[in-house]
Symmetry: C2
């Protein structure tokens, strides 16, 4: 198989993890007889520095021309003072929208070897943490109108608006049901229907879809309650589907309870098979250039790309199994070290994973 991958190297410590990921992809290509072509695309801080724009059209075009996009993480203190439109995050939001990636899939799964790193009590962890948050990614308050104006009284007022239309809800709702169908068949729609019109529209669309998926056990939960339940009893969840902002908050909380943010990949997909794959962690400016950042989440993001965009199941399994073996051997990076384990740097962790493929 021959595939074109656009690679966004990202900012701060991100190029270090992307480098290890490319090594892993090359090893897989060699072993299974594939060819991956890489095209560098600039987004975020790098693009601001080069072009004064966090995602110029020509860089977005490179992503649209590729079969899929691999991303490290963008942003850092250097670009923090910039106005909204010119910040690295804006590049990420425009990339998501420009590629039509409405479905962000964030797994919260505990690696048994890392269970002790969870902030939750062992009794709770022992019940299992293995759920997926399906987050709507290109609608809601992220992409509504934002305005700041001066009122007659002379004071300023800002208004952010949160729009959702039926087709936007339906396509992500469907992903929720389909994802649940492939797993333990439980879908929970999280919203704030006691306050928001958008949530009530979500519910009406979800109820319509529910009829098509009688095999999936469907439930609804308020977002405030969900924020509690994720900590109290995460084992109750299989698939959560939710709007953009709630998904942002809940998926970060969910990733934290696994105790290993440096291990969590994510995929963002739209209607076709072209996706954007990135770790859920940030660009870790504080440890940039030290070769100590954990490359695993980025490497596992590449595995998701092989699985979901290229249909290369065996190859994806090979990467995930390699990571599992490395953990079994007690090899860790600084972010999830525990007693009796060996602490590796970023390159050495890349080496260790490569060696198991």
């Amino acid at each position: 198989m021959e595939k074109n991958i656009a690679v966004i190297w990202g900012d701060c410590s991100s190029p270090e993890i992307v480098k290890q990921t490319i090594r892993v992809l090359d090893k897989v290509a060699e072993k299974y007889g594939h060819t991956f072509h890489y095209t560098d695309a600039a987004m975020g801080g790098e693009a601001i520095d080069k072009y004064g724009d966090p995602l110029p059209q020509h860089e977005l075009d490179k992503c649209l021309a590729a079969d899929s996009v691999l991303l490290g993480a963008v942003g850092g203190p250097k670009w923090e003072g910039l106005p909204g439109e010119q910040r690295p995050e804006k590049g990420l939001l425009r990339l998501r929208a420009g590629m039509g990636l409405y479905s962000n899939n964030r797994p919260a799964k505990i690696w048994p070897q890392l269970a002790p790193a969870s902030p939750l009590k062992p009794e709770i962890v022992a019940q299992g943490i293995d759920f997926i948050i399906v987050r709507e990614l290109i609608g809601g308050v992220y992409f509504g109108n934002h305005e700041t104006h001066t009122l007659a009284s002379g004071e300023k007022q800002a208004i952010d608006s949160m729009p959702y239309s039926e087709h936007e809800i339906e396509r992500i709702g469907r992903i929720g049901f389909e994802t649940a169908r492939k797993r333990r068949k439980k879908l929970c729609c999280v919203d704030k229907a006691n306050v928001l019109d958008t949530s009530r529209l979500w519910r009406s669309v979800m109820h319509r879809l529910q009829a098509e998926y009688p095999d999936v056990e469907y439930s609804e939960m308020f977002v405030d309650n969900c924020a509690m339940q994720i900590v109290k009893n995460p084992a109750q969840f299989d698939v959560i589907v939710t709007e953009n902002m709630f998904g942002d908050i809940l998926s970060d909380e969910a990733s934290m309870i696994t105790g290993s943010i440096g291990m969590i990949p994510s995929s963002s997909l739209g209607d076709g098979t072209r996706g954007l794959y990135e770790p859920i962690h940030g660009s870790a400016p504080d440890i940039a250039g030290k070769d100590i950042v954990n490359p695993t989440a980025c490497i596992l993001s590449a595995a998701m790309m092989l699985r979901y965009s290229f249909g290369l199941t065996e190859e994806a399994d090979a990467i995930e199994n390699a990571v599992n073996k490395v953990l079994d051997k007690g090899l860790r990076t600084a972010d999830n070290m525990s007693e009796g384990c060996t602490c590796l740097g970023c390159t050495a962790m890349g080496d260790a994973i490569l060696a198991e493929i």
Copy 2:
């Protein structure tokens, strides 16, 4: 001292906890020589049943005429099918707005006796959990425009809008700084300034206020990160100030990590001393009428009322100390039972607390 208290008995199991709370208030009145007059006011399900409206003007007027308002909790399955405007929650939102209660104070504090009930690991709990979330309560998306219309394409679209003006931010920001000043002098403003205009306006107002409070260590955090940090390292927080919706989500998460939702009171205040005091838990329909619900959060809410609305510090201390002694004796309700403790019903817990005053 003579005070008029409006009492909203609430729905489902709520009247049971309010009943115990009134007994405690009466005992305090007797012991310290005060007179509390109670006026019943209907809000939520009860008001819907009686008047077809979750908060008729005449009931709001009773609250406005009182020196303060004590509330149990409203809502329940009986009223769930109703349209938005007629639901019990709407009564609560109208009460908050009608009384001008912009500042909701939600403490997340662990009772040492209940530490084992926290879902977090003992190592994390041992570092201490004692922070307050100061939540803006009558602005933002809760009180912005909500609309659902049909687009030209024939599909429906809903839009919720989230407005904040400078004076709304300034008054709650000030409460944040003042609250921090009385405590460990650390204030963290939580927002999503990388996406929202309202958050950016919050920051600009907070920066202005910061100059007036040089003794308070001020920081800022994104809401998604905060949802992680509350679980990972709650000891880092002293006072969090945030907008309405983020406050709703984060305060529920924060209450859960204390392991004892049945113990957490809250106050909502505006410009004067008249406030609304209520437990943060809901109306627990599943255990209504069984005399097993935990009355402690409601009783502690009454203690907050004495302290913050009436300035009765000694009396508030008396109630809080009584609760502490009851816990020391190993007396619990079903929701936070643990090995070796004695499980009491609602009335018996009321008796136990009364006995210590």
